[in-house]
Amino acid sequence: CARLESGHGYVPEPSALEGVVVGRDTKDIIGLTLGQPGTRGIVDDLGWYYVRSDYERFLWRAPVEVDRQVVAITFDEAGVVRNIERFGLEEGRVVALNRRVTDANTQGISFLRQLFGNLGNFDPATLINEN
């Protein structure tokens, strides 16, 4: 019973996907039948991507992505569907994230400021010595 499932993201139902005709349907039709994509291509908005992933989490371990469906719809310059690709977890690569950060230019709340910010605050539990 210790396995916890959770799902994120959205891909159109297979039945709706079959209905799409390459070379004819335009962005607006796709937008209506399949719904807006999760994200779009960076530069020319010619790629629409839908992603749905299912995670499983066991005891204290981090949630593991056990299944992923990616639907990539690419359009030509005129906005007509050029190609539909579907792929899953296997095509993804396990990428080691870079730990470096472009540091923000202001400092956060320091320990001393928080410590003395509490001076005089009063926590009732300390008064009631519940041994």
Binding site: A2, H8, G35, G38, L59, F111, N121, T126, I128, N129
Partner: protein, 745 residues
Amino acid sequence: IGFGIGDAAAQTRVSSIIVEGTQRIPDATVIDLAAITPGSVLSDGEINDVLQRINASGLFQSVVIVPVGSGLRIEVVERPTINRINIEGNDRLSDETLLGVVTSEPRRVYSPTQAESDARSIVEAYVESGRLAARVEPRIIRRTDNRVDLVFEVSEGRVVENERISFVGNRAFSDRRLRRVIGTKQAGFLRSIIRADSFVPERIAFDRQALSDFYQSRGYVDFRVLDVTSEFSRERDSSFVTFTVREGQQFSVGAVSVTSEFPDANIDSYRDALRVRSGETWNPSRIDEQIERLERLALQQGFDFLRVEPRVTRNARDLTLDVEFALVRGQRVFIERIDVEGNTTTLDRVIRRQFDPVEGDPFNPREIRNSAERIRALGYFADVDVQTRQGSAADQIIVDVDVEEQATGSLTFGGTFSTDTGFGLVVEFSERNFLGRGQFVGVQIQTGAEDRDISLNFREPALFDRDLSFGLSITDRTTDFSNAAYETQITSISPSLGFPISENGRLSLKYTLANEDIFNVTGDASQIIAAEAGDLIRSSFGYDYTLDLLRGGLNPNRGVLFSFGQEVAGLGGDTEYLKSTARIVAQRDIWNEEVTLRAILEGGVVAAPSGGTTRITDRFFLSSRQVRGFSSRGIGPRDVGSMESDVLGGNKYVAARFEADFPLGLPEEFGITGGVFFDMGSLWGLDNTDGDLTVDDDFELRSAIGFSLLWDTPVGPLRMNFSNPIKSNPLDDERSFDFTISTAF
């Protein structure tokens, strides 16, 4: 406002502007307001626009524009500024409340219209508190330098009270029953104290709603409040209110069914989740309850965009309403962004990780509400306001989380008082939201007459940013109780991990390494303790499983919590034992969530391996919070033979508490509610009674009954228990009064 234009030349070429009459406000400001480009030609209409623009600034009492020679002369009279504002003649409502309503401010420009509207809002404040006859006069006193003092003279007049409230057209319920339903009360003998009996127009609207809720929740679907009439007595100090109602027929539930647009949703599971039976009296809130249950189930089964739509068909002949719960495909809407604002101390991730949904996920209002609840439960914020608004497209929603921080730590140097060990000193620093990371850090050094306690606690709720809590506590406790002829010192270090293993179940694992020393055992102590004296190492590993269905279950106002834990000591340590504890809490809100019934049953057994004996530091004791009416360590086996007749603790214990919390009818703002309780429990079983008869360690049930006052202080919920033991052993230390910071249970 004065208004005039000089001899109307059709066109005026404006090459220069002269401003006259300004005192405080520099000419440049007037010219800036006039916004005339030098050298332009203005018609009369345009000059009038200039006039309006200057007037609109609200800074001037009168503005006159005279075309002269090569330009315009603008003559202005500035409005006086307010030097000071005062309110006189008010008695019922204080200056602060009334000044809060006034918009004019000292050092700002005095405007008669603003003063008039302030006077009206003061009258409004009086009407809201039932004094309809209040009158307010704004008056100004001239000061030097065109300054004025603004005075609001108030005459409050008498309170208008309801002499008689009556109903017309009610057959099913009597006037007296209906009077209990509505907020407005008939003036009784306490009339001067109780506010609810004064006649207030807004409250009548509230009463109409209360009446229709009352009837509709009892099946009268066609109920209408036709009219509410109120007449005043001559002296205008009492009124007669009459409600005319039309009840209509009482309906009950007909056929109940579930239909679904989702092919792979298993309809039976939804049908089983329903708790409404046909033949039951129709009650709209019960129907909403079912919708909530089905939508919760859909959330658990992970269906996106599922909405439950009730379709009601009415059959007038047999006065029943059939209801069909249709699982329909809601509109396809997504979460575009989750924006957090107002978190001046707390890090964004600490709030964001309370959200199950992620940006880009389908939008489910219930999940957003659950997440908002979790953010409030963090306890770092005075106010959490989660709103959704339209995103960049029709099907995109932006979730705005607006939090207001509050102090989450305390730094105290002071005295403590405990009903068990008397006065003591404490130096304490604790921070529940350390550096805004959601971590808990607590350092406490406390010395009392009979005990000394140094403890350091740390807790990280999301280790590796997962739902995995890590805790570490290092404590050093020495005790020298007056009623015990021995001293103990326990120094322990204990890390722990906690993580969810099911929707509402959580497992925590804990390791403890402790040095337990029992020393200074005087001659008066019982030989049992003398046998246990010594400095031993305890190394134990324990788990605790808690299933919390108090709030998470399908029914929001009924729930149960079950927890079971075991601890094994040995693992390289000297002392060896197996300790198991269990606890069940059942809670139920009744009488539309006014009264809470709660039953708590807990028990535990500790056993040393065959032939071995447990030590006093590992045995159970019953605290005054587990069985009220007795002081901590006041119950349990005693060695009557020894001089001190110390309490020896027990290998087995059981305790049961039955409580009811209910409002006392005091006004909301006091925050005081009442409660009654019945506790019973026992502590028994020792290994090494080694035959001498002076130790009585068999099962003996103690019980006590009492009432408590719960006071919701701004600093924390305080619970004062007044108890009276019914069954007790003559040797027990009884206690009739006790106060604790009442955690939930």
